[in-house]
Structure formats: structure tokens, C-alpha cells
Amino acid sequence: MITNAGGGYPPRMPSSVARPHTGASVLRGSLGAFRGRLAAAATLFCGHQTGEALVPVLVGVVIDEAVGTGDPAALIGWLALLGVDFLFLSTCYRFGARQAWHADVHADARLRMQLADRLLDARGGAEAGRLPGGLAILAVSDAKRVAIVSFMLPLGVAAVAAVAVAAVSLLTISLPLGLLILLGTPPLLWLVQLVGKPLERRSGAEQERAAQASGVAADLVTGIRVLKGIGAEKAAMAAYVGTSRTALGATLRATRAEAGFLGSVQLGNGLFLALIALIGGRLAADGEISVGGLVAAVGLAQFLVGPLQVFGFVSARLAQGRASAARIAEVLGAGHTVGEGDAATPHRTPGGALTLRGIGGGGLDRLDLDVPAGQLLGVVVPDPAQASTLLRYLAREAEPGSGRVELDGTPLGAYPPDLARTHVLVAAHDAHLFAGTLVDNVLAGGPGDRDLDRVMAAAQADQAADSLPAGRDTEITARGSSLSGGQRQRVALARALAADPAVLVLHDPTTAVDAVTETRIADGLREVRRGRTTVLVTTSPALLAVTERVVVLESGRIRAEGTHADLLRDDAAYRALVTG
């Protein structure tokens, strides 16, 4: 399972040195990964734009050389050339678009994978403070918005080229007209940028609100059984309508800004066209340029509206892309909750002696505990918060506030997290079952199907499977909600047993299981884990009865210890606690 753990880890390095992620670096990385394709796309798009710019020019020539002269041969010749131009521009677009689109969709998938890999990082920390639904949106919608910049960038470059070609054509027709275009365009572009800026801010806020509305919708759908149970569909709906209206308000404010932007672009382009018509018309009236030249100039000016609108469009998408890139950067750059350990830590099979020295934090008070290799230990923690803290430390989900956990004398923190979890597996009581068949889930954490029947029997998961329509091959849907609590818990327990770690920590593994089945599980567990270190964090008398030793944690320290039988006989508080 962790064969890559050997040489794959980079040398130890404090996590604070991790490469910082900013919106700009995310965007740059996304574009840089497909440099070659983007360059090819930009070149081909330039060819396309040149071809497009030549269309009005050639139409002007047809009017001057054929329509004006009435020469059929000239008509055929120039129309043929126009045809070649169309063929050229069409071919350039076809292959340019394929290159740009390739960069776009692959950049999209790449960002999604980067996010998934960061979220899946063994050191954790990326999901803190975020809804699963919100994270899914981030990996879909925001990734898409960043990736589309890959398509927009070559378009923008080609638009620049188109303006250049048009200007050169115009310069050949007339120097003053050409200069007008060359000098008039930059201020126009600057104005477009200026108007586009506030849109970036608006767009960010809008997406935040819209994401919130979707997040709330996803949250309600996730909790739908709870809502139905208390007949709260109406109340939930009323709450959602509130969120939805707020999101609508934000969207409308953003679209008003967008409409203003679009109107300004149209106004700017229209005025620019009027200016060209004025100068061009006067030149033609004075006989400086031909009628064909004027037609071409006006056609080019109209053609220019296209690339200029592309600037507006591209800058708006760039603004959205930047806002999304910043959101993605936040997740990619989130701090890790635990260190990455030291790859040089000896890689031998551990004996399984677990030692806790002076563990503090989260309600624990300099806790010392020794679990000899091979022992089956019961840990009774009346305070759930303290139990949860202890389990998080053992699972390497958090660093202890003070003290350390050692495995065979080696600090657990010295192991890379994956290796630590291979040796010390903490099976949470709310463990998640994933999409796939029941047996896929059981085998997910284990070395193979060698012990499958044994662990299925020990966890009574075989019995759970038998009551399902497709047995072990039953598909698990939506986090196992198609299974009963008891079935889910037994499948999760079988998975933990199949993983066969040196130290197995089980947190309340049988709370949803009936008393008879629980007793059978306790016996099965003792058999399967014989000679392997096992820690049972529970107050169930059925499970505690099979342990070799029990410790009772109160106020963060060990208050009592002994065998279950002795404690049950001698310790009234213990008796009340486990059988109450």
C-alpha cells in the first residue's frame, strides 16, 4: 500500500518553507504548463485574424478592379484570391482553437488535480473552515474560470495582431488614417481596462455569494433526512430563500456593473468609428484615397470592432480568472496540521509498543501511558472531548500541545504521516464509507484478500453483507446511507481489521450494534488481534470484558487502572460508568 513511502518523500523540511501560493502564481502556473500550445494557438489565431482583416481589403480591391472596370477575368481572379484567404483563415482558426482548447481543458483538469492532491495531502489542513460542497465548487467552477484564461490569452494576442495588420493595411491606404488607428487604439484599450477593474472586485464578491447560496443548498440536501425527521422542510426552505435572495442581490449588482462596462465599450468603439469615418471621408472627398480605399478603410474600422470587443471580453474573463485563482491559492497554500516527518526514520516493522509521555492540550493533562507490544488495552474516557483529542493525536490529525507519542521508542512525529498511520491506525466511530462495493470498502485499507473471510467474520460484517440484496458486492451509495448504522459500523470495523496495523486504535466500534452481535464482535476482535497491540476507546462492557487491562482517563489523566473484572468489582464509579 505504501511502497512509495520509501524514497518518495523529500528530505525533512519545516512546513513553513512551503512554496507560497498566490492568485498570480496559480494563474501563471496554469498558463505556463501549456506554453507551447498557447504559443501555437496565438500564432494560428494571428493568422486567422490576418485573414479576417484581409477580407474587407480584398472586397475593396474587387470593387476597384472588377466591379469598377467590368472585367470578368479580374472578377474571377480576385474572387479566387478571396477564396484562398477564406481557406487560410478558416484553417488557422480550426487548428488554433484546438490548441487553445487543449490548453484550456487540460489546465482545468490540472487545477482540479492540484486541488485534489492538496486536499488529499497526508499532512491535512486544506479543508479547515470549508464546506465539502464549497470545495467541490472550487474544484469545478473556479478551476474552470482560471483555465478559460488559457483560451482567452491567445485570442487577446491575436486581437493585438489584428489591430496591427489593420493598421498596416490602413497605413498603405493612407498614412494619416493608419496613424489615427495606431495612436487611437491604446487610449481606447486603457479606457476598457479602467472600466474593467471594478468588475474584478464585483465579480469576486458575486462568486463568493453565489458559492454561499450553492453551499447552503448542498448543506440542506446533505441534511435532508434530519430536516424531514422534524418536518422542517418549510423552515429550511424559508432560510434558503433568504440566502438565495441575498445572492440574487449580489448578482444583480455585478450584472449592472457588467452592463455599464458593455455599454462603455460600445460607446467607445462607436465614437472611434465616427472619428475614422470623419478623417477617411474627408481624405476621400479631397481625392487622397480611392472609393475602394475608403470602402476598405471603413470595412477595416468595422472589422476592428471585433478585436476591440475581444479585448473587453478577455479582460473581463481575466478579471474573473484572477478572482478564482486567488480562491484556489488559498486552499493550495493552506497550512498543514501535522509535519511531514523524517524520511530517514528506520523503516522496519514495528513491534507495537506505544508510549505516551506528558501529552497535553485539548483537555489532556500531561498524560503518561504505556501500552506494551501485543496488549489489548481498554481506555475509558467519560469526557468525549478528551477522547477525541487523544484520538486526533494518535491519528496524526493534530500535533499534541505538549509531550510526545512514541512507537517502539521512536517519536510518532518522526515518521512521515502515511507511515505513522500505517503503523498506528485510528478507526474513528464516524468513519466514512466510499463509493464502491462493500468488499471494495473493506479491502481499501488492507494488503489483499488473504484475511478477508476472517476479518469479515470477526467484525460480523459477513452477516451484515448477507442481509443485503447483492451481498458483499452491494454498491455503497452516498456515504453508506443505504446501509443501516449497524451494517455501516461493521463494514468500517472489518476495514480497520483488514488493514492489520501494528497498533490498532478503535473508537466505539460497536455503538450501533445490538448487544448479542457486540459480544460476538468482542470475541472475534480478540482472536484477530491476538498478539497485536490494540487500543479500545470505549465504555461498552461487552468490549471491555475481552481486554487485558483497562485505564480510566479523567480530567486528562489516568484515574484508575486494572482488569475490567477487578474494576467492575472494586470501583463503583467505573461500574456506574460502563453498565449505567
Partner: protein
Amino acid sequence: MTRPENDHLLPVADGARMRAVLRELVAPQRSRAVLALVMLVGGAAVSLLTAPLLGRIVDIVAQRRGADAVTGPVLGLVGVALGQGLLAVLGVALVARVGETMLARLRERFVDRALHLPLERLERAGSGDLTSRVTDDVSVVGEAVREALPEFARAALLIALTLVGLAALDWRFLVGALLAVPIQAWTARWFLTRSAPIYAEQRIAGGAQQQQLLDTTAGLATVRAFRLRAQHSARVRARAEHVVALAMRVVRLQTRFFGRLNAAEYVGVAGVLVAGFLLVRGGGATIGTASAAALYFINLFTPINIVLFQLDAAQSAIAGLRRIVGVADLPDEDRPADPARPADSRVRARGLGHAYVADHPVLRDIHLDVEPGSRVALVGASGAGKTTLAKLVAGMHRPSTGWVDIGGARLEDQDPEVTRGTVSLVTQEVHVFAGPLAADLRLARPAATDDELRAALDAVGALGWTAALPDGLDTVVGAGGHELTVVASQQLALARLFLADRPVVILDEATAEAGSSGARVLESAADAALRGRTALVVAHRLTQASSADVVVVLDAGRIVEQGSHEDLVAAGGPYARLWSAWSGLRGPGTGETR
């Protein structure tokens, strides 16, 4: 890879239903929609003045009327620019307002219907299908409403008006231009028939991707514990790669589509030029008219492409819309014509049976009576049918055989809302709703005052820790907020139960996932929440059973024993054996019998 799931997906609306729902949505703001349309038509008409004004300049040049004569038409162009800009601002803003408002209403209706979906249905479809509709599809439709719709309308208007202008110059120019139409029509047809199936596949792949991302992001702690990173990474990658492959198929199709449109453009412009050539040579038109005609047609390139390309955006928007409407349009719950009302809180079940899969019954022939105000405990092995029985009695699932009645009225004869107003069900499903704690509690009683909320929290023993939260009742809890322990979450569930204040309460393994140490805290909380109500409790800790009025023992979907705790213990049957295993008697004595 998503094929097996397809049968389970939620419904997709047909075209007629979709249009009907849209008409319904636009109705409340009809006048605003008309105004938006007027603005768009106005904008198109104004922009159409550009070509004649330029034609005027050409004529001025051809007629050699001097440079100053150009000023008039140029001022006209300035007017056009101003009008166009202003009308664009108003038109786009209005269209967006109409469209976004419709979209928000549709989204709300969607969530409303989604919340009323029968549980069986929802679980089969998976929550990813639903969330992908509410996020992805809403965003695609939103973009269409915001960008494609106004653009499409403007371009279509422009084309219509330009063709009229071209005919006004000389009908033969129009003939030349129309040569392109057969190619365009054929191309559009060719494209749409090929793109539709790919788009459909794209949506499904998108839904599957979303489902996978939700599955992975919601279970990150488990992924870490079992080191399933590589597997999940591979799953996300596989979904992403499928999406990429489909996108590349789409782009290949699109670029071939544009190639054909370029050919049509060439045919059209050559047609107009040849018409001009013939007309000028025959003396039927001046060279200025021929120039104006050519300019007109060149100006049509962009709007025609917009219209044809938006067919594509329209198609994806329609696909998304149909998926949204499919859910939004689900029928409201069945309401009996003459609903029966429960007279009291007595619960009865007769001949009750249920099978999730045909011929695989999990519950058979259940006869059950719960007296008003009494407490019945359900006991049995995992999978014995306790949860199913609880769901049937709560009206969450419809029984395959037999019936349930509450207060003398059968559930199927009751208005579902009345049933939900009578029965509460708390399951082992722990969910804290994202948002302020008070908002979570008010889901159960929207009008509750802060004092009532505190009283409910106090009753379930949660006042202590809630008061210690950073912002008290306003603390943001749930995913993304302040993380609550399982016990605290279950206490909240019981506080909601308390606030909902229903006469009949069903508690299904409510303490199961809390862990045994929290169980006792929750038992007393549940006790408080159940006081004075008719209760059916699925008991795992047998202490819960021992305090009930009646204990019902289920095995393999049948009732095998029922009676009071004392009677059953004395009877020495299955319950008595369970009780001795539980009560710790196995401790000092039996613990040694290895």
C-alpha cells in the same frame, strides 16, 4: 463508467414542460421583460443606421460634394454610438434582471422540490446528481441568461433588419446573399444532431465528477487514516480525464462547424459581389450601391456567427435547464382529496411489511400498538428491521404491505404535512446545519424566541457548552464553522425535537454514533425530549429498553416477543438472554469463560 447509475438519476424535463415552467416564471415581471425587449430592438435598429451613414459618406465622396459635407453623417455616427451605448446598458441590465430573477426563483423551487423528494429516490440518485444540478447547471443557465440571451436577441434582430436593408438596395443583392443560407441551414442541422449526444454525455460526466469530489472531500479524515490518497486521486483523475476527453470531442466538432460557416460566408460575399458586378455592368446600380451592399454583408459575418454559435450555448443551457426543471417540476406530494386527521397520538400498525428490493422483504407482518403517552422500545439484532419499522411509522417510506395509523387515521389518508406535524423522527444521521446555532434550532420552530431556544438547550443538557461558545447562540456551527462533537450534535438534534414539539416521537438509534461515553448524557437528554409524548424508541443500550413501558423484540423482520421489561426478563426468552449479556453480568463471572 457512469452507465449503471443512469437509471437512478433524477428526472429531466421535456421541452414542453420546460417552456410552461418558464412562462410561469416570467409572468410576474412581464412588463419589465417587454421593456427589455424594446431596449434591445431599439439598440439593434440604432446600430443598423451605421451602414447607411457610411454609405452616405461614400456617396458624398463619389459625388465630389466636398470634404465638409462629410460632417453631417459623422455626427449621425456619433449619435448612433451614444444611442447604442445607452440602449446596451439598459437592455443588458434589464434582461439580466428579468433572467436572474427567474433563475433565482427557479433555483428556489428546485431546492423546495428537492427537499420534498422521497428519501428512497434521493438515495438512489446520490446527492451529487442533485448538487451538480444546483451548482453546475445553474451556472450554465445563468451564463446563458446573462450573456447568450441578449447577444442572441441583438444579433438576430440585426440580421433581420440588415436583410431588409439589402433588399431595399436591390432585390438581386439579397439573392446573392441568400446563396449562403442553404449551407448555413445544413451546417446548423449537421452540428446540432452531433452535438446533442455529446453535450448529454458531458452533463453526465460533470455530475459524476461532482459526485466523486463530494465523496472525497467529505471523507478526507478517513482517506488519511487508511492512506487512500492514491486511490482517490486516481478516481478524481479518471473523472477529470473523462471530462477532458469529451471537451476535446466537442472542440473538434465546433471547429469543423466554424469551417463550414466560413465557406458559407465566402459564398455569400462572392454572391453579393457578383450581383454588384452584373448590376453595375448592366447599369442597374452605381458602384456606391455595390459598395454599400458589400459592406452590409461583411457586417453580417459576426451576427450570423453569434446566432449560430449561440445555438450551441442555447443547447447546453437548455440541457441544464431541463435538468433543473426536471427536479423543480416534480409533482407536489400526493395529498388525499379528503384528508383524515389524527384524533390523538395512538399509533397502530397492522400487517406491516416492507421490501426495498422486490422479493427481499426486510419486515414482515408487523402488528404494533403504542398507547398515547407511552413509550415502546424496539430491540433486535442489527438488520432485524428496526430502522425500517421506524421509517414506516414516521411516514418516510411507504409500506409494501399493511398500514400504519396514527390517532385513528391511516398515514396514506393523511395530508403528509399533517403527518409531519404529528410525528418527529430523529435518526442516527448527525447533521449540524451550516450557519448560526440559533438558525439551526429555528429550523424546528421558526418563531422561537432566544429564551425558548435556551430552554430547549437546557432541557437536553446543552445549555452549558452552548453558553461557552465564542458567540453564544450566534456562533456559526456546522461544516465550515465551529466544529461540534458528536454528542453535542446529537444534543442539538434532541433540542430540535424538543422545539418541534410533536405528540409522537420516533427515536431511531439516536445515541448510536455518539459513542458509549456520550450515550448516557444523551439518554437523559432523550428522556427529557420524550417526556409527555408517545414514543417509539429503537434501543441499542438496553437500559433504554428497561425504562420503556413495552419492549418489542424483532428478529429477521418479525416480532418475536413483546411485553414489559420485567415480564420479558422473567420469561427467559431472547430478550432475557440479551439483557444478561448487556447488564455486565458477564463481567467477573462469564468474562473468564474464554
